[in-house]
Amino acid sequence: MALVASLIIDPTEAAAAERFVAACTVTNAGDGDVSINVAPLSSPSLALEIQDATGAPVRLPPPPVPPSEPPIKRLEPGEGTTATFAGFLPSWTEPGAYRARCRYVAGPGEPVVSPWVGFTLTR
């Protein structure tokens, strides 16, 4: 399975945690169709990995109870699916510089991750 992940955070600097919006895209970079479970992209708690300036993880609230049947989506070659998370950063987050990456956990193996993207919470 040749999946690649990318992440966009907009804006990259804001005075309120609720302003940040993350868009996490998982794209089929292979030559054939791929069926993926999109449940891991259903919550920022599952799909985003965030660290502060020291590299310490920023914990997000727990994800929702998982669905009984995993939702499956078929991706053609070159096709991607994007999950948008408005206000993904908890309101109690201290001001500072952070970085995040999109993480798609397809199974027991290594997750597909995007490059890190920096953003700053000012106040």
Binding site: R19, R59, L60, P61, P64, V65, A86, G87, P90
Partner: protein, 389 residues
């Protein structure tokens, strides 16, 4: 004179509680042309409410949230003769001294119905804040213990204890009856104590052993359980107030549906019991969610589906009740959480932290129970409301 008229009213004016008190302002278009009012912007108390103390000194309110797109939009159109209302709740800081205060609507910008030269103002509404009773607010609770991070098994009592227990309970009840007669009749102890405390507890949980397809759920999560706990003897309630500031678009009907679903899930189920002369049948646990524009305990982003405690689906009335459980400090109960195995999520018989469609159980109020105990320096137990204490 502004085309809009603003009328202010409060259901209660005497003996009101700062932090919980609410008012309503009705805006009526008395002109012959439609007029605009940015309801979203006018919902920020700090931008439009003028609060004065007995000596006419201005009482500052907590700052408004950062402006969002709706704050900057052109606002709502009010047709001639039509009215709209805005509710303001919890805008008075709990640290305010008791006494008389005056409040009025005061909008001095076009988005708020007036201008610098010709502001839109209502009449003054005079209210009296009640004196602080009981526990001083905002201080650390002594001996507060965070709720345990796992489920403690209930041990079976030995036979001799089960036989002696009814006798022991009888003797204890007689003792308490005599004690309470002395305290209430001879020492005139009234049942009028009201104590409040803001609770802010960090919570973490680690989910493991997620089955294939749900591996993404494995991980460590963190959040803060925040609410205002009020133990109220006159009404025999333990009130849990959660103020939520919403970010995003939601209709009044959807917001009302959230409130109804949440309060149906969490209210009228359990009570806090301890041996006491007042409220001998316990304090009913009442959960109250209030939607505010500032002074919030939690921020909730409104979206198309519920994705965690801080992101709720506008049309969802099931999973939001589960997320409120996290706000109360409850942990998830599916897969393995902090070493305790619960099995799959959404089991038919699972409680709300496993299956959001089902009601909570006593352990989900554990943070509330612990906080109540610390507030009274006593030990409470959580008992179903239909049982005797």
């Amino acid at each position: 004179m502004p085309q809009l008229e603003a009328q202010i009213r409060g259901e209660k004016r005497e003996d009101v509680v700062a932090g919980e008190f609410g008012i309503t302002v009705a805006f009526t278009n008395g002109g012959s042309e439609p007029v605009r009012l940015n309801v979203h912007q006018a919902s920020h108390p700090a931008l439009v409410l003028d609060v004065r103390d007995r000596n006419d000194r201005e009482v500052p309110l907590p700052p408004p949230s950062a402006p969002d797109a709706e704050d900057l939009a052109e606002g709502n159109l009010i047709e001639p003769g039509k009215s709209i209302t805005i509710d303001y709740v919890g805008f008075l800081d709990r640290s305010l001294a008791p006494g008389e205060y005056r409040i009025r609507y005061f909008g001095e910008f076009p988005a708020l119905g007036g201008s610098k030269d010709d502001p839109l103002r209502s009449d003054w509404l005079t209210v009296t804040l009640r004196p602080e009773r009981g526990f001083e607010r905002g201080i650390e609770i002594p001996n507060f213990k965070p709720a345990p991070d796992d489920v403690v098994p209930v041990l079976e009592r030995p036979l001799w204890l089960r036989l002696l227990l009814p006798i022991w309970i009888f003797v204890r009840d007689i003792y308490w009856w005599i004690y309470c007669v002395i305290v209430t009749r001879f020492f005139r102890r009234g049942c009028d104590d009201v104590r409040s405390q803001e609770i802010d507890q960090p919570r973490t949980e680690t989910i493991s052993n997620a089955p294939p397809g749900s591996e993404a759920w494995n991980g460590t999560y963190g959040w803060r359980a925040r609410f205002l706990l009020t133990l109220d003897e006159p009404s025999c309630t333990g009130r849990v107030l959660i103020r939520v500031r919403l970010v995003g678009t939601i209709t009044a009907a959807q917001r009302s549906a959230w409130e109804t679903a949440i309060e149906a899930a969490w209210n009228a189920r359990f009570k806090l019991c301890r041996k006491n002369c007042c409220c001998s049948d316990g304090l009913r646990i009442v959960t109250d969610i209030q939607f505010v524009t500032s002074g919030e305990h939690q921020v909730v982003n409104v979206g198309t589906s519920t994705t965690n405690m801080g992101n709720w689906g506008a049309a969802d009335t099931v999973d939001v009740s589960h997320e409120l459980g996290h706000m109360l400090g409850a942990l998830d109960e599916y897969f393995t959480v902090n070493g305790v195995a619960f099995g799959a999520g959404r089991q038919a018989t699972g409680a709300i932290m496993n299956n959001p469609a089902n009601p909570p159980v006593a352990r989900h109020y554990e943070t509330v129970r612990q906080a109540a105990g610390a507030l009274r320096a006593a030990t409470y137990s959580t008992i179903p409301q239909s049982s005797s204490c």
